[in-house]
């Protein structure tokens, strides 16, 4: 055991920890959804429950939810903290966020949580130590407003008890930088190195625990280094330190996981560890002059060492409550195209790129535009049906719909003093494609719509057989509506040209559909 105090160790049960882990791939209007934010939060959940000394019930994992759910989770932690303090326990609360943000707030989907609110929320938990790890664009805003500056590293005295109290905030970037995701690591750079650090890569003094300062130093250097060559440019993590007292904070304890993967110093290099069972990179470790240890769950892993033209890959099984030393002989050569880890990450990306699907039912009317056609051929009919629509990240939408309907009317024929009673029944199936405005509570779209139409008209009381048309009608579609959440209410207008000559004359057989739709977005 090193000088660091293992705040979460069982021997120090009087120190209680909680965590609120928030991930949201969706941001406010105009932002492109992220691929890995929610996955990164899951990754942090795994590490903090495995090595961070936080029991499962004490972790609040909030994925893809909005402001209210976050406030509710923090509120639950606040109550638990109050109860623990009443018992005389010391308390630590971690808050992790991965998602969109701007200079004013965290973007939780269409809802927001301002930086000031976040600080206040942390303070109101009443915990002795509050640690916020924010992986978001412009997240440095929160530290800058408090006067925080870039720091290449910092060292705290450590003690055998929790002397410190206050708030520590670490952000993934400065107030004017973007925080980047990487397809190569299957997550954001910041969280990737944060996870690596907490798994053991940051245990520079080999004492078996990873402290807050070790974590920051590791994450800072690795993030800046890895992002320096990106098109977006280097990303600088920042910190805000507002602790009274002395001491460093233990983030994880490597022995707590029970299973370890040992990288011997005899094989120096940088290794990436991919959890085959859970399809994610769990750590990246650099081995130089001494053995390095990563705390991992038992399971199957791929350990990769990257060479310029190929990968060296070892398939390893980490035992339950045991250590496995990485044997150089276990590595075999693999081409980059055969990279199973990349394949798994690509699948995550593909899933994230899938369109947002919505289903809706609608009702309305189908009416021919030409009054002559309406009066003499097809009276307006009621229409009802359903639609499935795919809204792509690019703003494009495609839809498939079907509908049926019927109506009655009386045909007015030139020269006849009476009207012919008529019943019209319709059935159709359509395909639409177009572009929509940005995702927002009020939204509209327009595009092309192709409809296969079947129209039947019969003449009750007349000795005239039913007549029908079946054809494909090209047209335009437009919709606008209110999309407050999963439910939506939409008005749709479709106009089609029906290529059919009636009685050898062009009757202007265009028809319109005006529909009111109620939808559900997944």
């Amino acid at each position: 055991m090193s000088l660091a105090l293992l705040l979460a160790a069982a021997a120090h049960a009087a120190v209680q920890r909680w965590a609120v882990l928030v991930g949201n791939n969706s941001g406010d209007t105009g932002t492109q959804p992220l691929y890995f934010a929610e996955l990164d939060a899951r990754k942090m959940h795994r590490i903090l429950t495995d090595q961070g000394g936080i029991s499962e019930p004490d972790v609040k994992l909030v994925l893809g939810k909005g402001r209210n759910e976050v406030l509710f989770a923090v509120g639950a932690v606040r109550e638990a903290v109050a109860a623990a303090k009443a018992r005389g326990d010391q308390t630590v609360v971690f808050f992790y966020y991965s998602g969109h943000a701007d200079a004013t707030q965290l973007q939780l989907g269409r809802t927001g949580l301002s930086w000031e609110e976040l600080e206040l929320l942390l303070e109101k938990t009443g915990a002795d130590v509050r640690v916020a790890l924010v992986d978001a664009c412009q997240s440095g805003t929160i530290t800058r407003t408090k006067g925080g500056t870039l720091a290449p590293g910092f060292v705290f005295d450590v003690s055998e008890r929790l002397d410190a109290s206050g708030t520590v905030i670490i952000t993934s970037s400065t107030g004017d930088e973007a925080s980047q995701e990487s397809d190569a690591v299957g997550g954001s750079y910041f969280t990737h190195f944060l996870a690596s650090a907490l798994t053991g890569a940051a245990d520079v003094n080999r004492d078996g625990v990873v402290t807050l300062s070790e974590t920051y130093q590791y994450v800072y250097h690795k993030t800046v280094y890895e992002t320096a060559g990106t098109r977006t440019g280097p990303q600088h993590p920042t910190y805000e330190w507002d602790l009274s007292g002395t001491g460093d904070l233990v983030m994880t304890e490597l022995d707590r996981a029970g299973s370890n993967l040992i990288f011997p110093a005899a094989n120096p290099g940088t290794y990436a560890v991919f959890d085959v069972d859970h399809k994610l990179f769990v750590a990246e470790v650099e081995v130089t002059d001494s053995d390095r240890r990563l705390a991992l769950r038992p399971g199957h892993y791929l350990v990769q060492r990257r060479h310029p033209t190929y990968l060296a890959v070892a398939r390893l099984t980490v035992p339950v409550y045991g250590s496995l030393t990485v044997d150089p002989g276990a590595f075999s050569r693999a081409e980059y195209e055969e990279d199973l880890a990349k394949g798994a990450i690509d699948r995550v990306i593909r899933r994230a790129r899938l369109p947002r699907v919505s289903l809706r039912v609608f009702t309305g009317a189908k009416s021919f535009a030409d009054p002559t056609v309406q009066a003499a051929y097809f009276p307006t009919t009621a229409a009802a049906g359903g639609e499935i629509r795919f809204n792509w990240r690019s703003g494009q939408w495609t839809s498939f719909d079907f509908q049926g309907g019927s109506g009655t009317g009386a045909l007015a024929i030139d020269g006849l003093p009476y009207a012919i009673p008529t019943r019209v029944s319709t059935g159709s199936a359509g395909f639409g494609i177009g572009y929509a405005t940005r995702d927002a509570p009020l939204r509209a779209g327009a595009g092309l719509h192709l409809e296969g139409v079947y129209l039947v008209r019969s003449f009750p009381g007349q000795d005239v057989p039913s007549q029908s048309i079946s054809t494909i009608a090209p047209g335009l579609a437009a919709w606008a509506g209110w999309y407050p959440g999963h439910f939506d209410l939409e008005l749709q207008l479709r106009s089609h040209y029906l290529p059919y000559l009636v009685d050898d004359r062009d009757r202007g057989m265009g028809f319109n559909e005006l529909l009111l739709a109620l939808g559900w977005r997944f």
Binding site: I413, L455, T471, P474
Partner: protein
């Protein structure tokens, strides 16, 4: 669009209903089969500025003839207002439908180049007979054609339980205006004297010509017997008109009297003259729409 049109198929058409309209157009109408002599309900008075007697008589006669034709048109219009109850490519049929206790059926058959034969028949108890029938030849349009129709007044009475007799025949030509030749043969209702008469009516190019035979009791002719009168009334709606009558018999004995009355667009007498001086000469002959005396020439 052409490609899409290839995917279109169907049999939607209103031709069957437009054909209904064509068949119905072969039936007589008020517009084409009644007489429209200018003025109505006028009281005649042989003074300048008053309604001429011959015009008033012409109006009255036309109204009487029209009333007979309206009886026919009433039956026809009843069918015209209903969709056919059965259809074939060259026929339409209605009924039977109940009309004042009589089952009426109507049939229109088309043959040749626009020939329509139609008949309205009634059936009641043991009595079944055609009542009105006709043949119509289509012109430029079906409605603008010519033909004739007959009303069996006796059959009408038998079916509807009335004491009637006689027959009314109308020859018509609607291709260029309205031209009617109406003949009544023994038409009688109840105890009235059988009515035998002929009437010729033409309204073409905004000029009307109505010819008929009637009787008229000339005042101050020394007799209560009416004279036989052949009347020809012509008019131009925007100018005025002229009636020429030839009277024989009655108080005239073996004399023949030619009597002319002219009127203006306001339908008041502008000129009067007769060959025997029975009536007072009035007005200026230059006020007449026509200068010549025209006798009845179609009856």
């Amino acid at each position: 669009m052409m490609l899409l049109a290839l995917f279109a198929c169907g049999d939607v058409s209103n031709s069957v209903f437009e054909e209904d309209a064509a068949f119905v157009a072969a039936l007589p109408t008020e517009e084409h089969h009644t007489m429209d002599v200018p003025g109505s309900g006028l009281t005649a008075k042989a003074e300048l500025g008053e309604t001429p007697e011959l015009l008033a008589v012409s109006i009255s006669v036309a109204t009487d003839v029209n009333s007979a034709i309206f009886d026919i048109l009433g039956t026809v219009d009843e069918v015209r207002a209903l969709p056919p109850s059965h259809r074939t490519a060259n026929s339409r049929g209605w009924g039977p439908y109940l009309h004042d206790g009589v089952d009426v059926t109507a049939t229109i058959e088309r043959s040749g180049a626009g020939r329509f034969d139609w008949v309205f028949a009634g059936e009641r108890a043991e009595e079944a007979a055609p009542v009105v029938w006709g043949t119509h030849y289509a012109g430029q349009t079906v409605a603008e054609g010519d033909g004739e129709f007959t009303w069996d007044h006796a059959a009408w009475g038998r079916l509807w339980g009335q004491d009637t007799a006689g027959e009314l025949v109308v020859d018509y030509d609607n291709r260029d205006g309205v031209d009617l030749l109406v003949q009544l043969a023994g038409v009688r209702t109840g105890g009235t004297i059988p009515w035998d008469a002929s009437y010729a009516y033409r309204f073409v190019d905004e000029a009307g010509d109505f010819q008929y035979l009637t009787t008229y009791d000339l005042p101050d002719d020394g007799s209560n017997d009416p004279a036989a009168v052949r009347v020809r009334t012509r008019w131009l709606p925007t100018v005025g008109g002229r009636s020429d009558a030839v009277l024989t018999g009655g108080g005239l004995a073996d004399r023949t009297m030619s009597w002319t009355q002219c009127w203006g667009v306001d339908l008041t007498l502008s000129y009067q003259h007769d060959s025997l001086g029975v009536t007072e000469d009035l007005g200026d002959p230059a006020s007449c729409a026509w200068g010549d005396f025209a006798e009845v020439d179609r009856l």
